[in-house]
Subunit: 221 residues, 2 copies
DNA sequence: AACTGTGAACTTCTTCACAGCC
DNA sequence: GGCTGTGAAGAAGTTCACAGTT
């Protein structure tokens, strides 16, 4: 009664989200069909990998022809759950938090920010987009009232674990953490981390490693 | 005349940056030695994996004892190149760009922002931290004058490729791209991408997949 | 002829288990 | 005894090559 494997690999899910974006652009441009090669090149991946990614959803294209842009787009949107808007709360309204709260990219992809929170009285009351920053004291009430299932943490590292605990206890099931500290959450709560300074550091290291391939990793004893 | 392999895997480099941060915190707290288990737990990784990561640098610890906090910290800092400050330019001073320009985490990790650029006259002249936003027209001059080797792109997707081309032509060797579009760069120029809406989408999908493990990936035909 | 879907080879990353050293 | 360093096993992800379909 079920032909597809139930789980899609994480790496594939990330690429599906990229394909969805490319397909939306193509559809807006009036394009009706596209081949794996063309789609892969627009998404920055290998064509065979793209086909393998799509194969997790079952047959998506027509052999000898390619993929139908609009229907593949809709299928990806359905699989990724873009249709049903998911309520998100964001804690820590510093520079980064403000940027994310205002980031238009989220709204069109199924995410609906329903609460912005900060511990600092100076921040509370501030208006960002359509929302007003609220006191961290209101966190549990808002999560309960909105049924928010996703939380984003952009606080300083020192308080991130405490915020994580409160989000999990309030019923949030998925947390995106921008604070530079690993968080532990109870079973049933996913945490995903984005570490901006690590990204820069990796980039810089790989660049320097590429430039000096013949020398040892360290030159001093 | 060279005992270590010349290349460190990318996944390992990312974790080394995390270990460095944890070690700095431990050192500031007065800690002198630490075991792989403790360090791994603070970094959110498996102890055996941590030891394997460190093994790429050669022997780092003392068997039966552990690692010396300060010396391991210094060694990681040296390997990752934190000592020599690297000049970075940032293009696209919207909300996200402003947040990154102001992000204190970069300064302490070997990155020195030397130029902020935006195409909009309304942004030019704005003060962020110690820097003034400059016109995009000045990009090549500033890169040449400062020898910047790293560029960060936080522009809208439509102009990101053009900015990438100009950065590469001006001599930037490593680019961190926050625009939601894959960039192509000439050989010798690394591009690394951070896609915030993909991160949220993956998080949301994995959460929903975990909640519905028994049902098929899609329920409608 | 063109292009998808997929088993198989390959590479990369992670985890394990234990030898070696303090 | 305790902990590091590492070869070996295992898991995950990527790429290839081609069978299958229109």
């Amino acid at each position: 009664m079920q032909s597809r494997p139930r789980t899609i690999p994480e790496a594939t899910v990330a690429r599906l989200a990229v394909y969805l974006r490319v397909l939306s652009t193509l559809a807006d441009g009036g394009r009706t069909t596209v081949s794996s090669g063309e789609l892969a090149s627009a998404a920055g991946v290998n064509p065979a990998g793209l086909r393998k990614d799509l194969s997790h959803l079952g047959p998506c294209g027509v052999r000898g022809v390619g993929y139908e842009v609009a229907s593949l787009r809709d299928r990806l949107a359905r699989v990724l759950g873009v249709e049903r808007a998911r309520a998100c709360v964001l804690v820590g309204i510093g520079n980064l938090g403000s940027a994310l709260a205002d980031y238009a990219g989220f709204g069109t992809r199924g995410f609906d920010f329903v609460g912005l929170f900060d511990a600092s009285p100076a921040r509370v009351g501030q208006q960002i987009g359509a929302l007003t920053v609220r006191s961290l004291d209101d966190l549990e009430d808002v999560v309960a009232a909105t049924g928010a299932s996703i939380g984003v943490i952009t606080t300083p590292a020192e308080v991130a674990q405490g915020v994580c605990d409160r989000l999990a206890a309030a019923g949030v099931r998925s947390i995106l953490n921008f604070a530079p500290v690993p968080l532990v959450a109870p079973p049933g709560v996913d945490v995903r981390k984005v570490d901006l300074s690590v990204e820069l550091q990796v980039l810089a290291f790989l660049g320097q490693q590429r430039l000096a391939p013949a020398s040892s990793v360290e030159e001093s004893a």
